[in-house]
């Protein structure tokens, strides 16, 4: 088996994103994740297909030296679905933005998750329309001032994680553009997972929404305002690793270890493989300032995938059927002979 490095996945195309754009880092993480995925799953390079819709982040396929399909606005999920059903051997990756996947492509997005088709969706969330130069998106915060909301938006944003889990998604993870290592780890986990893997990548848009996630992303307080979840590990966070999450009745609560008799044993342990979607929903929904924002793999459970089910049905029906070629079909059912 050939051993790949990130260079094998870099195309010869000039990367045209703005300097400082969060997309650069996500691209770098993907180019680093793919050799790892190949190592773990034994994929040759030609098995990778990167699909995208329209928007800044959707330029990504041109920068990957893999098979690529830059489709139309909102429809990447449908194109990916067709590719995967046609050839389940392919490792299908999709790059899409918050406007692309959740506004114009919202329908395809939720249905892909519902079907649990085995594709890996990287959702670049910068809470703005960048390529059309600064209009609000379905993830823009209530009141966001943009070119199409000069007095502030009057609509509530989607939380992509809630959408995915609401559609009974089997994999949801959240990354942050500058967390290269974590993003790579998330991407590898997404590839290993069978089913629709949604990776929300919180990205910054330096031009139209600078500081999109600054309130949690700034180095000065990132560790206090985010929590990195890992399966089997305690839900502990903070610069001093002294804060944690506990269940308080039916709600999550932030506590400080060492205060009010709280010990590490009281802190919840993350179970990404639990069937119970409720706790995952609560974790995905956590917002600053009440909670730290959850990063890492929040949910990763097994279920039958759409592409495998399609293939299985074809095999089962073929085994039972008496029709194995078109001539058989033409002579099946009610026919008569003119002599």
């Amino acid at each position: 088996m050939e051993k790949y490095t990130f260079k094998d996945f870099k195309s010869d195309q000039e990367v045209r994103w703005c300097p400082g754009c969060g997309d650069h880092a996500v691209l770098a993480a993907l180019q680093r994740a793919m050799p790892r995925v190949s190592e773990i799953l034994g994929y040759k390079k030609e098995r990778y297909v990167v699909v995208s819709g329209i928007g800044c982040s959707s330029r990504l396929p041109y920068y990957m030296d893999t098979y690529g399909f830059h489709s139309i606005h909102g429809r990447a999920t449908a194109v990916s679905t067709g590719i995967k059903v046609a050839n389940p051997e392919l490792s299908v990756w999709q790059a899409c933005g918050d406007g692309d996947a959740l506004a114009i492509g919202g329908n395809h997005f939720i249905h892909a998750v519902r079907r649990n088709i085995d594709i890996n969706i990287i959702l670049f969330n910068n809470r703005i329309y960048g390529l059309t130069k600064g209009q609000y998106s379905p993830t823009s915060k209530f009141g966001a001032i943009t070119k199409t909301s000069p007095y502030g938006t009057v609509e509530h944003p989607f939380n992509p994680g809630s959408l995915v889990l609401g559609a009974k998604g089997t994999f949801f993870a959240r990354g942050l553009d500058t967390e290269l290592k974590l993003n790579e780890e998330i991407m590898v986990a997404a590839a290993v997972h069978n089913g629709t893997s949604v990776m929300e990548m919180l990205t910054n848009c330096v031009i139209f929404n600078d500081g999109a996630h600054a309130e949690i992303a700034d180095r000065a307080y990132r560790e206090d305002r985010t929590i990195v979840l890992r399966h089997g590990e305690k839900m502990i966070f903070g610069r001093n690793r002294d804060k944690g999450l506990v269940l308080d009745g039916l709600k999550l609560k932030v506590v400080t270890i060492g205060e009010k008799g709280i010990t590490e044993d009281d802190i919840l342990t993350h179970d990404a493989h639990s069937d119970n979607i409720g706790i995952h929903m609560m974790l995905a929904d956590m917002k600053y300032p009440e909670y730290p924002v959850a990063l890492g793999v929040i949910r990763d459970v097994n279920d039958i995938t759409y592409d495998a089910a399609v293939r299985m049905q074809v095999e089962q029906v073929t085994e039972k059927s008496k029709i194995h070629c078109v001539d058989d079909l033409l002579h099946s059912g009610s026919i008569w002979e003119v002599k």
Binding site: I72, G82, Q313, L329
Partner: protein
């Protein structure tokens, strides 16, 4: 009364009743029996959009017309010889289809005060409809069915569902159809899921037959001898079924697995349903979340190497427009089926029309030509779907196949072909010689690019909606764009090198050329034959290939003084021809009523010119 048995060449029977009365089944059964008996035939289901419209109302009337004959039958017939009307509403909406010599068979029990009021009759319906001169047979069908099944132990609702078998029995007597075919069919239909329904249905059927024989009210009965059909095996097939099977055939001949991504829409849904059955032939069907996903999943499947298909009707095609452009731009093989219905917007979903021609030719942004071919009869949908797939796969392009509600739902007997008579389909796969792979390098003769399949080493490339150069690299260079626009158009235009030339039916030159396309073939053909028999100087060409036109089109047109374009729209094909071949003058014969032509309408149009 003196009973006569009259041998006739052809008859048209129209079954009409409430949408829950089982008229579609009765009609298809009569058609199937006649096919097995050896008649040629053509059928025309004419039903409302509502699944169960209010009982007994005019809007809820469902009809099924079948034309059987001992000679060549190409249409479901204009007017009928027998109208079966299960209630007053059915009589009212269908009386206009009666021949002057027609017989009317009605269920007298349904003609009570309530039924008459629902249909808006104030007095004697026969007089009100001015059909006193027709032979009207009033039979108490509901009561007789109840009587027939009174010992069956079935509840009254189920018993009433067997009324249609009573009428079918009567129709079988009138047209000398042996009941054994119907019985065999009932056994086949019910033996798996409802074996308990076989005996009661057969009993009612036989009672209906015997009742008709005994009442002495039916003046004449008729025989329609078997037609002289070519030897071989036959089956009945609807256009939608034939379309689905044509794709399966193309999949077999190309070795590419079939993928169909579609969203349910009348009247195209049956294609998706049919393909969903045939997983044993490797067909993968994806019922998408919307029309756009239907075509986009198909485009994805095409990129991955499948024979990709999406099926829809006019409103669905509107939704797919942007993605059609993507298929043109990425130069991927894809077949889009549009089973046309009456529009615009939701229009009249269950009624037929040819009004999407402009949409398929022009309805996209940018310079975006697409190959368009049209089916001309239900069975011909098989060859059309096959040919559309062959063109798409071998020329790396989307191809639109036009069908019509009339073809999709209509059926005809079909001499079963053998797959060995169909050509292989050979897509232009990229080979080792094409490395380094440049996805948009073209064959200079056909302008066709190579197909590099994901999963294969060294063909990594990117496609997409943005303009590119031959190497597959993004380019907004003005001259490159213009060149690519020209090349994509030229690729479609050069299909003319591989499509068959027009064949003129009737006179090869002379005073009038009748022109048609799509599902009007049977009606126009019959009309032209009648006109020729009446001594008119007329020829006829029917276009299966619409974009591009066959190469000999101008030559054929030039041999006639005048050209009459007949189509079920306001003149879309005529306008298209005017644009491409402006040297000729085009007369028009148009109808936009959601109904097929009547033969008589075309005969009159020909008479008006000559």
């Amino acid at each position: 009364m003196q009973h006569k048995v009259i041998d006739t060449k052809d008859v048209v029977i129209r079954f009409a009743g409430d949408s829950g009365d089982g008229m579609q089944l009765t009609g298809s059964l009569f058609a199937d029996m006649s096919a097995i008996y050896g008649n040629e035939l053509s059928t025309f289901p004419d039903f409302p959009a509502e699944i169960r419209a209010p009982h007994g109302t005019l809007s809820g009337v469902s009809g099924f017309q079948v034309h059987i004959g001992s000679g060549h039958i190409t249409t479901p017939g204009d007017l009928c010889d027998l109208l079966v009307a299960m209630n007053p509403a059915a009589l009212k909406t269908n009386a206009r289809w009666l021949k002057r010599t027609a017989m009317v068979l009605i269920d007298g029990d349904a003609f009570d005060e309530e039924g008459l009021a629902k249909a808006g009759f104030s007095e004697d319906p026969i007089r009100e409809l001015h059909i006193e001169d027709r032979t009207v047979i009033v039979a108490p069908i509901t009561r007789l069915t109840e009587e027939s099944l009174k010992d069956s132990g079935m509840d009254i609702k189920t018993i009433h569902k067997c009324k249609n078998m009573f009428t079918l029995g009567m129709a079988c007597f009138i047209y000398s159809r042996p009941l054994e075919y119907a019985c065999r069919y009932l056994e086949k239909k019910f033996h798996r899921k409802h074996p308990e329904m076989i005996a009661p249905n057969e009993k009612v059927l036989k009672d209906g037959y015997n009742y008709a024989a005994n009442i002495q009210a039916i003046p004449n009965t008729y025989t329609v001898e078997p037609a002289h059909m070519a030897k071989g095996f036959y089956r009945n097939i609807t256009g939608n079924q034939a379309t689905a099977w044509g794709f399966l055939a193309a999949s077999e001949k190309s070795g590419r697995p079939l993928f169909c991504g579609s969203y349910p829409i009348t009247p195209a849904t049956a294609i998706l349903e049919e393909l969903a059955i045939h997983k044993s032939l490797g067909a993968k069907t994806l019922q998408a979340e919307d029309e756009i996903a239907g075509i986009c999943t198909a485009i994805g499947a095409a990129y991955a190497g499948d024979l990709a298909v999406t099926t829809t009707s006019g409103p669905g095609l509107s939704l797919k427009s942007e993605a059609l452009g993507l298929a043109v731009m990425t130069e991927l093989p894809l077949v889009i089926v549009d089973v046309q219905r009456a529009g615009p917007s939701t229009g009249i979903p269950t009624k037929t029309e040819q009004t999407d021609l402009n949409q398929v030719l022009y309805g996209r942004n940018g310079e975006c030509p697409i190959a368009v071919i049209a089916a001309h009869s239900p069975a011909n949908c098989f060859d059309t779907a096959f040919n559309a797939s062959k063109l798409a796969l071998e020329h790396m392009m989307p191809v639109i196949m036009l069908s019509e509600g009339f073809l999709g739902n209509g059926s005809e007997p079909w001499k079963i072909p053998s797959m060995k008579d169909y050509p292989e389909i050979r897509p232009p796969f990229a080979t080792q010689e094409d490395i380094p792979f440049k996805p948009f390098m073209r064959n200079p003769d056909t302008m066709v690019r190579k197909w590099g399949l994901p999963g294969q080493k060294d063909f990594e490339h990117r496609v997409g909606g943005l303009e590119k150069n031959h190497d597959g690299v993004l380019s907004s260079d003005p001259l490159n764009h213009e060149m690519m626009v020209r090349e994509r158009a030229e690729k479609v235009a050069r299909l003319a090198d591989v499509i068959p030339p027009l064949e003129v039916i009737g006179n090869k030159s002379g005073r009038l050329l009748v022109v048609g396309w799509g599902g009007t073939y049977g009606h126009i053909y019959t009309a032209v034959m009648q006109s020729l028999a009446g001594g008119k100087d007329v020829g006829y060409v029917h276009f299966d290939y619409i974009n591009p036109l066959p190469k000999n089109t101008a030559e054929v047109f030039g041999a006639f003084d005048r050209i009459l374009v007949c189509e079920l729209n306001s003149g879309q094909f005529a306008s298209y021809l005017r644009g491409l071949l402006p040297q000729f003058t085009y007369l028009q014969c148009n109808k936009v009523q959601g109904q097929p032509f009547l033969v008589q309408e075309i005969v009159s149009a020909i008479d008006n010119v000559l």
